[in-house]
Symmetry: D4
Subunit: 162 residues, 8 copies
């Protein structure tokens, strides 16, 4: 093992010559709970006004749930469909509907659906951006059509962050 | 953290000004075991009479199994296929075959298949409705064709709830 | 298969002699979103006031999430720990701490921890009861001790449902 | 690859010199649905009479569900706890309580709990034997104590197979 | 709960009037290990002779592995692909290639792929039948084409059971 | 549904009276890849010098992997053990060994092990803090003892961030 | 059981007549960490230079991660998408894009996507070969197009192994 | 992003100054299928002679199955228990019973059980070593006691590799 260690140490040591100063670590904007709840509530109210029983999820840039709510008559599957849409939009940085249309045009990228168990390529998810920086995603599930889910999400973004 | 808490408390406190009276909580009709077993048994008998070895699942509105039975020669995969069809119909409120046909026509909604691990977009699942209210779903798996599975499910609904 | 079917039909037919009248299905009280959100918000505020960064989940009697929120500095694992505590309390009908203490005294029931992937035997979850009927559960995760998590959950119940 | 194949072929060919005659395959008794349903129903009725809201699962020797029923007020976790108890008793051939007690006495076998995701080492599961041959298992979950769950399972076996 | 129990007891009691005699339980032929190993070995040798590095799985009628072997240069994914093909053929009773072709012709049954995590709709799996009775399945994975995988499986069946 | 919506809208509208200004969203320090790789490399070199074949994982505050490396002779399980230790330390904010010792003293908190599939309560994980702020975690797996794993992790933190 | 054992012993004993000499076990080239890290770093740098925020995974011939790194702005899903692409290329021995194109041309092999949870049929993964022997795979995820991901992977191979 | 890239490139470029020569990659001994099958068969015969119905798994150094066989009357859970024991012994390099005893003495390392879903800390698994090099593992499950399982595994190693 000696010689193996030697080679490895030589190569790696060069990357660690200097220690990191704490102050050097970068900063990033993050989506706080207060904003996340406002977004979730607005999207749900907007959908209820349209007569749609939905779940709404808001996740941060890491794809972790900040707020998840389910209206009284929304089916159980909407918990995961809304969360996954939010995750997908947050992680990929574009509306989930864009990728659904992309797969339709280019069947060779159908594998996008399988990248991660949290990915859902289906309309209804939008990235949340502030000052052109991706800070999270919002997903709606339960309306009879992804475009309707997306409209509720967009309305919430417009009202809260517009 | 102080200021953050302040902001959050201010926003949220407004939603909690008054306590909920127990009596205010709404009621919902639920699918009891007795009815669920009748449905499952009828569907299985109907399929056996047609010569089909199937599993039958009946779930409540939350998608939770009330009754699941497997005939003597049904393949092991029918346990999950019937349960998922029942879940899907209960959660989405329409026959599973409707969504299978929808994806055929609109490939951009193929992601419906990935919304939740319990979802199965394949003929053979029907929602159970009572007085126009969704109370559960029934799924059949194992017949050589989703329309045959669905026919057994429909026969059970007609006999027990018709 | 003929004789097998015969036997089965004979036995089962007896259970299906009469159809169910829709009106016969029972009713149950359910936890609506509005109440669930109040509970979640109150518990989170209570914990923040104590200096604890937590997630709070409120689920219905079926164990399905109604509301899930995560405070700005709560660790990612609190999403699942709070949800599982809420599920466990809702499904088993008692505070999760009771079962944690039970296992301590009776090691032969340690298997309680493995009953279902959603079960978490750890202090911080309380059942939500209205008129002595179990309608859901609330779970808190992230405080330095299950008794502290539970106190936040209890405070929310006291305020919203007391 | 040539030489590797050679070696492999030489060694293996000896095991395949003669073809199997179909008639040579052994027979085994299996648990049919009719019996399984009787067992499940009896166990559930027995528990209801005792005031316990439970789920009951009956599985065959392969651990596959034959019948699974959940009473109206049983918690959602009882679906999996009853099924796993039935699986464990069927696969290991003894009451699940035996293994729970064994772990208590011999902590070094606590790993029994982790052998398979379907295993549950907790009282309430019994093997189903006919003519001293293991044909399946029955599991009950939801009573306030594994011995109570087991009593319901035993009563069903006594009545149906006794 | 009294009245609920009453109704349930009345309906169910009818199905349990007589106990099952042990001797009444049916018999089924099962695939023993000896035969399973012969099949697996033959299929693997056949593929190696064709220059294909594969895994071979043989499962019983319940879809449970009897024998699983992986040749020296077969990729790690072939363990699961061969096992799933064997499971699928055993559970569905027809060559896996049939279903792959069916989906191609009828896109509305694409959901067959999602019925169960053990299902794999891809050429290379064959049911094992003895005296027209389904006793298991064999699956091969790793050859550059499902028809090549299937040919190895067929050769094994022909030699061992032909 | 009208009245239900009304009640919900009334309660929620109060939380959304004012839109969020982009500039208001808070900032947080995050662990960049460059620092993460230095930490991982240092820990691995430190362990190799001690003769231990390990994997090392560095995750950010969300528990997401920044860097994961496995030395030539480390067992496959060390990939997950190191990643989970890093996740646990990052999410819970303390050395994983602390919680292992806590469970030893207080068996009633053994459920900590089950909070989330990513949690591993076993020595070898340390939180990464900069200016008293939690920015991630480092986990080491493979040395014959958690204290040895931890020592490698500590050495890396001391050198890179000390 | 006696006779069963006899038959089995007879058949199997033939395969075990001679013991294996340790020296007889074959050798295989394996991908060490040092090379894996160089590949991962080069691919990531190449992508960053193109303006793409990606994750890069390098796995050995068994599909086990050797090195996995995620750039500062890459979405969380790229951890799994890059790892799965690397696994797929390593296990199947060809660029992942080849299989994506194959499915487009031959829809009947769409099941390739379901062979194993680690498989991802999407451009961006390349096998790593040394002296025509498969020793692992490299996968890149996060660029806006699989061909871009693949170009970064190819550049790394060319520089490190070319 | 420019400056970030610069810093990263500077640090990393040093590790990639020279390309790897193919010939430099190390070699490792691996467990071929022929040897694995002999080991599995010997262990199973040894157990059958003792009257134990078991499954036997043999895995390579990466923990991947080479051969897995299940005797006619072994419970379904033995497939996973034997495979996990083999994985654990192969990955950790010592008999699985050693770790079971270790946890008994040192409860603070109980987390070993949770390191990876493939780990099983229960007697019956042994590492396979050739010339003091770890090349795989063998696991036996189904005998009434881990020491009995282990004895069958040891007998196989003694006969085939002794």
């Amino acid at each position: 093992m000696k010689s193996n260690l030697m080679g490895f140490t030589t190569a790696l040591a060069l990357t660690t010559a200097m220690s990191v100063q704490a102050a050097e670590l970068p900063q990033q904007t993050f989506l706080n709970l207060e904003t996340a709840q406002k977004l979730a509530n607005e999207a749900l109210i907007n959908c209820l006004e349209g007569g749609y029983n939905v779940s709404v999820a808001v996740v941060d840039a890491a794809g972790l749930t900040r707020a998840l709510i389910r209206s009284d008559k929304a089916g159980p599957h909407t918990l995961e469909s809304s969360r996954k849409k939010a995750y997908t939009a947050a992680s990929m940085g574009r509306p989930t509907a864009d990728f659904a249309n992309l797969i339709k045009k280019m069947p060779e990228v159908a594998g996008l659906r399988d990248m991660d168990p949290n990915i859902l390529i289906l309309g209804g998810g939008l990235p949340i951006k502030v000052n052109d920086q991706k800070v999270g995603g919002i997903g709606v599930g339960g309306a009879p059509g992804g475009h309707l889910d997306q409209a509720c999400a967009q309305a919430a973004i417009d009202k809260v962050l517009g």
